[in-house]
Amino acid sequence: MSDKSNLLRAEGINKSFGAVIAAKDININIQKGERVSLIGSNGAGKTTFMNMVTGYLKPDTGNIFFKGENITPLNPRIITQKGISRSFQIPQIFEPMSAWENLLVALGTSKKNHSYFRNARSKENSDYIDEILSRFSLNEFAHRQVSELPGGVRKLLDIAMALVRKPDILLLDEPTSGVGAEEKYPLMDTIAKALSVENLTVIFVEHDMDIVQNYSERVIAFYQGEIIADGNCDNVLNDKNVQEFVTGKTQVKAK
């Protein structure tokens, strides 16, 4: 397949931490506009893969290509500038600032807004931030210090910050972790609605299989650093290996 159709391509990725194999011959092609979820038990290699794509970790062998360019040796800052943004399992936000100011910082990191003598709080920036806030239903929290905000709101803000740069790929690390069961669906609805505006490729790590089924088109299942299944939701979630090693559903054996 040509690089034009593959927005992100991982080739023969291997990564170990001592005796622990975190990635074993990982080969993935992600197309533009896909919604992909990465599933697997803890330690299966999902977050390691995400960390390698964003440059936080380097693979021992193999390469990662973004729009045909090898991004393996690049650092997170350059990779973000090229168009891959991420959110975090534990929201990485600037605690003493308000939600509005957090987004202002995120907006200020783009080259377009990097002016030393233009007030960060310009009307253009303010309008854009207000738009992002309303897309994520965060208006009422705009001017509250983020350290006071509830978990779900902090998650949304973390994702909104990653989106401000208008990336091509957005990686979400467990967007619903740490959120109450009754909050999960409303939270994912808000995220899905906010992300639908962009022609965005979304890759997210998730443990809740209902969420996976409802919000992704493609699922990649990891087990002990290997990909054990890759395909559409129904096929992957009904895969025997996935049921045995990932979802934990036991097969009903015919008598």
Partner: protein, 318 residues
């Protein structure tokens, strides 16, 4: 409308500068001198504030203070350049350049390591300066009297003219700095203070922010050193000594990092305490300074600047 003007940085600065220039006419000469020294120290403090916004404190700003002072002094004695405005400007640029050279090394460190490395630079410079007899060794040397655009003022007005020049130049620097603080890169410096990892993942460089902030701090420190040298008419290695650097940290802690004018107010308080304790309670300067520092940390942990911020926030919300 008046409230809107009060919120305008440019207007605030012009108003304060004009007020200080006019007030200078009516206050005694000794106070004019004390304020000029406070401005010199405040400039260095402003540099530390710039670093503090990015989460760092330098314990060695005596390094740049000394370089600025010696630059002005040597240009005066060796090159015959006596124009105070030029000397302040050149010291600002030259020391900023020196800062830019060492900043990439310092920017790799954080917290106490950054602070101690900056202190080490100042102690090395101190050690070198006291050994070089050609520039006065531990005694330093006297600076020639300053001129202003080719005119040498009479002794009676010399202090006031230098005071006016320092108020105007500091005013300009403060305006530029306020614009920097309020710009997106300035805001990113505050973010670096909180979470460097996220700043990198937003596509910005914490390292570059630190290099820029240190370069600015160096330039300001150099300008402060030059102003202090010109005001005293003398420069010596004490400029670079660690206790001098400690005074700059004191100013920064007292001021907090929220307000530019607060830095100069803190520097003025330090100078006044120093002057009065020296006069009325000799040999108790360190004791008084220590008590003053304890009280300010306990009662105003965010510094004097927090009062200014609250005041302007109230005005803004009216």
């Amino acid at each position: 409308m008046p409230l809107k003007l009060l919120n305008n940085v440019f207007f605030q600065s012009i108003f304060l500068m004009s007020l200080l220039v006019v007030v200078g006419i009516f206050i005694p000469n000794w106070l004019v001198f004390v304020i000029t020294k406070a401005i010199a120290y405040g400039l260095v403090g402003l540099g530390i504030i710039t670093l503090m916004r990015g989460g760092l404190v330098s314990f060695g700003q005596g390094f740049v203070f000394g370089i600025g002072g010696y630059t002005a002094g040597l240009l005066g004695t060796q090159a015959g350049l006596t124009d105070a405005v030029l000397l302040l400007f050149i010291s600002f640029i030259f020391t900023g350049f020196v800062g830019l050279i060492i900043a990439p090394l310092l920017a790799r460190y954080r917290d106490i390591f950054f602070a101690m490395l900056s202190l080490a630079f100042s102690m090395v410079l101190y050690g070198i300066l006291i050994k070089i007899d050609a520039i006065g060794g531990s005694d330093g040397f006297v600076l020639p009297e300053s001129t202003y655009f080719g005119i040498k003022p009479s002794k009676e007005y010399a202090d006031y003219i230098l005071y006016v020049v320092s108020v105007i130049m500091t005013g300009i620097v403060s305006i530029l700095l306020r614009y920097y603080y309020d710009s997106t890169p300035g805001l990113i410096a505050l973010a670096v203070r909180e979470n460097e990892l996220r700043v990198e993942y937003l596509g910005s460089s914490a390292f570059n922010v630190t290099v820029l902030n240190f370069t600015i701090a160096a330039g300001l420190g150099g300008m402060g050193g030059a102003l202090n040298g010109i005001a005293l008419g003398h420069i010596d290695p004490e400029f670079t000594y660690w206790t001098t650097s400690g005074e700059f940290v004191f100013i920064s802690i007292l001021a907090g990092y929220l307000s530019v004018p607060a830095v100069f107010l803190a520097a003025l308080l330090l100078e006044l305490v120093r002057s009065f304790s020296g006069r009325y309670f000799p040999d108790t300067w360190q004791l008084i300074l220590g008590v003053f520092l304890i009280l300010s940390i306990i009662f105003i942990p965010s510094g004097i600047g927090s009062f200014f911020k609250q005041l302007f926030d109230k005005l803004k919300n009216k």
